[in-house]
Symmetry: C2
Subunit: 386 residues, 2 copies
Amino acid sequence: MIPKANRLNNVQEYYFSKKLREVSILEKEGKPIINIAIGSPDLQPPIQVIEAIKSTVEIDNAHSYQSYQGIPELRLAMCNFYKRMYNVVLKNDEVLPLMGSKEGIMLISLAFLNTGDEVLIPNPGYPTYSSVTNLVGAKPIFYNLNEENNWLPDFDELEQQNLTKVKLIWVNYPHMPTGAKASSVAFQKIISFAKKHQILVVNDNPYSFILNDKPQSILELQGAKEVALELNSLSKSFNMAGWRVGLVAGKEKYIKAILQVKSNMDSGMFLGIQKGAIAALKTPEKWFTDLNLIYEKRRKIVWKIMEILNCTYTKNSSGLFVWGKLPKEKDALDFTDKLLSDKYIFITPGNIFGTNGEGYIRVSLCVPEAKLNEALQRLIVVKLKK
Amino acid sequence: MIPKANRLNNVQEYYFSKKLREVSILEKEGKPIINIAIGSPDLQPPIQVIEAIKSTVEIDNAHSYQSYQGIPELRLAMCNFYKRMYNVVLKNDEVLPLMGSKEGIMLISLAFLNTGDEVLIPNPGYPTYSSVTNLVGAKPIFYNLNEENNWLPDFDELEQQNLTKVKLIWVNYPHMPTGAKASSVAFQKIISFAKKHQILVVNDNPYSFILNDKPQSILELQGAKEVALELNSLSKSFNMAGWRVGLVAGKEKYIKAILQVKSNMDSGMFLGIQKGAIAALKTPEKWFTDLNLIYEKRRKIVWKIMEILNCTYTKNSSGLFVWGKLPKEKDALDFTDKLLSDKYIFITPGNIFGTNGEGYIRVSLCVPEAKLNEALQRLIVVKLKK
């Protein structure tokens, strides 16, 4: 047996990968599991997306290799979308289609990080930032986000650290798991910090159209392109998580470095998927109004669930989740495990996103109202019985 | 400007990426370019593949995240295909769907190579093996293939090298660019060599069904799974290059290491593509008979082109190309550049695949007979005029 590479020793199995096996066993035993843990949109994409892929696969040249950069029409649609939705002007070579923003985390890390470089990673935050950092031989340095700071970086704290080896900072606003938003002022602070220390900022921005009055791009800020890249995705915005379409936007020189990595890893995106993505990006704004009406209704029920669970939460949050603070003495992992085994309700413990998520839980809005109400009723009945 | 990672300093722009810009300029000038340089299948996939994706995108859950491992039905179809076509028995966990075999080169390199590990790479061979090796911080060591050895590894030569740092050897039979095939004896020698030195062998096997009477998998050989993995792809076999579907097959422990990397880079394959792939893998053998009849007819014309160009070639080759040896004094790059500028015929110089490809040219079969005949006529006329 030839041993695997050392870089894999630092990569743990993803919490959900393990936990979902447990959940699936319970389901097989006939337990009435309600899964409100995962942020996988259950709603359908715009109908024209489905029409676009269906008509494209009929075309003769639909099945051959595509360019690494995507067809010009897709990049143009991405540029137009950024102009229309964020008022950000991008040239055609300032955007690169990706197989989801997740692919971007690996590509950017390979394109910019040397062995031993340090990377600032939000705690709590999306676990892939640190696992990919480890995979490419760089060093994750977690920075604290907490409720007192509205889950925004504490620059006084950051400035006290030795930042000489830091090459990159991951930010993610609207923030997963907390739903916190960054104001323009907050984005400006991040950019100033990055410029001062010559650190590349990457804002991972897949949630900006979900329950958010004012979608923002970090690239809106003056001078942002000097130091900032942005990842975006169609997964949540257009219910196309399975399609794997995202993008990275920013200065052409940065995009070129990313393309240098990408051209060695894949051979372009399926034409049908590109055409579907173009159709999605052209969807009129009403799409988001309608989508958010559904999420708002669901969220009201989840707020009630939070109350029944004696959790506190903010109503001013964005994205596909509600983030709740458990009563002081509660441990998030114990709490969620008990909810699963006693009530067959699967929610996410906050600590899987980092130590600052300890004492919190995350509930998904990707479940129909009926199911959320069922969960709520199950909890109310239990409470009344006590 | 934040500098890119050092690993990118060793990665050159791909020959075709540059050259196709030149070709496209000529086309815009109205020059009647005939491109017989590239191995991108121009024919259509089986009709049931197109039907499968069209009906799948109508299904409600078609648009959400899929498992990293692919749906069980796809893995089963891959196992059944390996049994039926190669007589290789694979368990469900011994196969992992990939976004083309190209993705596999990066995943395997990240999963098994540490900084400084050495990797044996065929010369001539697919340029991605060495660029990815450089990207992950390992060291490419080229091994010689040449016409005298039927483009098979020379183990006497290899044994004379210091192999202590070698962790992996890339092999690729049927071989690109030469079309050479490996016999079972040759595969057995590769496996014995790998076992003796505890080197992981990866056979990149996307061409086995094209112009090949006896498709072979390295995993057929006894004891192969101890040290060998195989990459395969639907791109050439089913004219689905743009779909990006491939697989890696081998021992479960190896597959698990690859999955550990993959789960940090993407989020599963689009369900419609998986269903299309399943339909392809179930296509009856007659598909290959019909497909190869077309390629045989094309190849006869390409042989004539080789003769007109005073090249020697073997009729006993597999895959999507004809590999021809230029008259002794000719330089491949000069020769192909001149053919492009004088006759507007674009073919590939062999040296882009390594120094042992110097003095050779590669012509693709992915062009209709009419176009190939046009190229032939253009060359005959020129010859008669002289």
